[in-house]
Symmetry: none
Subunit: 227 residues, 4 copies
DNA sequence: GATGAATGAGTCTTCATTCAT
DNA sequence: TATGAATGAAGACTCATTCAT
């Protein structure tokens, strides 16, 4: 009974705080909530496979009710989209900063490879989660994913271009080379995730760099491949 | 009584013989049906994402009823396992033949890369389908998948070893290099599938080879990377 | 091929044997088959719960095909009805013989109790199986079951009547007493089946007889119960 | 920042308090719903045999949707387990009170017999339903059922022991005698259910008592049965 | 008559989403 | 706005029964 009274007060308090001052405070609240839900998604993915990522579990992990999720995200897809964006945005930013960093192109690429290969498993789960997000490849999912990939490829290609212009790199189609490099780290991550390999990302990165930089052929020089 | 005796004899004979002959025919039929269902799975995957691969849809695509599927496969997992095996087995065999083919190691690797990059999208879908098969990575799914991956990596590593011994290849850990190459083609395929790239597999293969063989660095020679 | 030829011969042979002489031989065949299927049902119930008694399993246990079952029984219910009849008929007959045997009424009842309590578990399963037979209490199932029960009760009541007339038994409504006795052994069997008791049927029978014959009250004499 | 702090506090408070109070109401609702679903199960069993007791039908009988059932019971087995417990618990309690009631042992047993024989048919159906619940005798079902039976047998045996000590009852193994009495009433109920007998439970109880107390044999005294 | 592949209704269960409070 | 009970559309799987050979 006493409790009930307090609740009413809190409610009205919240009502006042939340609705009277519409702008910043409300937005702050919404932002906090969204991030909280983000964390909840990541949390759930730590202990459940993507196909077991249910709204119920997310709500529970976030300490809110299922219905609340729908006040912040129209549906499951939007939630996941948001989480993915939130998760990869910092990585993208770091990558884009890397382009202009004061390192040699080789060092930059190595940094990227290390970064990518050290993404924790959760990120691999996220990749799968987004792929499975109900409706699947809706235009929205497709578009956002493609855009993000393009930013990665573009950043890497600019590093390669830098290498070419600086004279050290072989003249190659930088975009395609970048796409290959991205594919390589994605695939390598998938393999590691699937097979539970114990190889550290450091070891894997070393391997990658050796081949990316020098190729398989000793003294690969100007010698021609097939083409 | 005498009659009964005769009858029993006939009966047992009939039991044994009647089922023996239809045997070969039955097996042929079963094989045809299984392949037909395989095709149906592939067909469904052409227009649906793996999580929408339902027994219902497979049955419909195969032009049979749901129940029929269960006359050929104990459950969904077995169906998918079968399809995956059926699909990748020929590729594996071609790869393993390739190891002993009369080509240079570089040519062999290029052949593999071309082969792998020309896999239709459906194969990528299959990879995902197997990962999602109901409970996810059941022991069986995991084991078969891991085994198959191992065969691929092993075959590629033998090609690399050959290249190293023949003197042309840089001395590297062939298993790890092979795992990287496999990862690269898997990832590249994923990217192409996701982004609907129009690049032909031939172009992609050329790119791959150039970098795999010579590396990014011109005249990469014996120069050291970081390490 | 040679095999195929033999089969054709056997088939035509069977065709001749079976259809030319329509009466006895055909009936004998049918009877044998039916009994064989009966055994198969019992066999299945030894290793499966009644709800797992499928036509498939019965066919397999009988070494015939599923379709064949339907040449001898219109449907599952009829099959089970037949099995139940076949199984309990001998027991009923023994019971009815017992009525006229040269034993004291007490001995006769004890014999019945021992008989009933020593029915193997399979019989308990049969009871459940018949209760679950698809349509459940169809008029047919109901009628046959009721009739059989009535024969049991009737037989026991005649034994009791004999005891009353011979002077030893208390004057009671023999039909009701008989129904109670039957209920008691059925219930006792159910309990034993459910709880996996290890008590031998001999021990159980001793217990039963002591109470049935003398009652709980020492020197129960002519003393009145409540009524 | 300050704002954020306040918000967080409100939030956590709200989280805690908002769910506490509805708590009692929620629990009340849950209890009501569960009982409602219980009734629905009973209702279904009045017109369907246990094997036709489907979640669908229960939901329909309760006037809710199928999915709702799963908000209150994890699965069918739990639902049935709950119903059985709910149904038999009061009877068990009455029985256990009876043990210490101020009646003679004979009266107590008669009370129990009357109680047991007046159980509505639905209870018999429930017994069967629990036995058939999906996988059949799962450990949980088995254990709870066995425990409940044991409580009944134990209660009756204590009554018998009382009778023996008071001097009136024949010295017998009270547990076994109790098991027999329970078996007798269970079996008698089954018979009544199956055959649709119209005998009132009062008549049946009278019959039971006469035989249980005095036995079949007039003046059964200390006379020996077989053994 | 024997066969067994095909059928499809029926069962349990999950989960995204809605909506009254 | 938060809540969480209710919903119902799917989905995997079973099995009695049919029917072409």
């Amino acid at each position: 009974m006493t409790d009930a009274f307090i609740i009413v007060n809190i409610w009205s308090l919240q009502g006042i705080l939340m609705t009277r001052i519409p702008g910043s405070r409300k937005e702050a609240w919404e932002k906090m909530m969204k991030e909280s839900l983000c964390d909840a998604v990541i949390e759930v993915l730590k202990s459940h496979k993507p196909e077991k990522l249910t709204m119920e579990r997310v709500a529970e992990a976030a300490g809110v009710s299922k219905g609340t999720l729908y006040n912040y995200f129209r549906n499951k897809e939007e939630l996941i989209l948001y989480v993915v964006a939130k998760t990869f945005e910092p990585l993208l930013e770091r990558l884009e900063e890397l382009v202009h960093a004061s390192q040699t192109p080789v060092e930059k690429i190595e940094t990227f490879v290390r970064m990518a290969l050290s993404l924790p498993d959760t990120h691999g789960q996220l990749f799968r989660a987004i792929l499975e997000s109900e409706e699947g490849l809706t235009p929205k999912v497709y578009h956002e994913g493609a855009e993000r990939r393009m930013r990665v490829v573009s950043a890497i290609s600019r590093i390669i271009d830098e290498g070419i212009q600086a004279g050290g790199f072989r003249k190659t189609n930088s975009m395609k080379a970048a796409a290959m490099i991205l594919g390589a780290v994605i695939g390598r991550n998938m393999l590691r995730f699937q097979s539970g390999e114990s190889e550290t990302s450091d070891e894997a990165a070393g391997e990658f760099m050796e081949i990316f930089i020098h190729g398989l052929v000793a003294g690969g020089g100007p010698g021609e491949v097939k083409e």
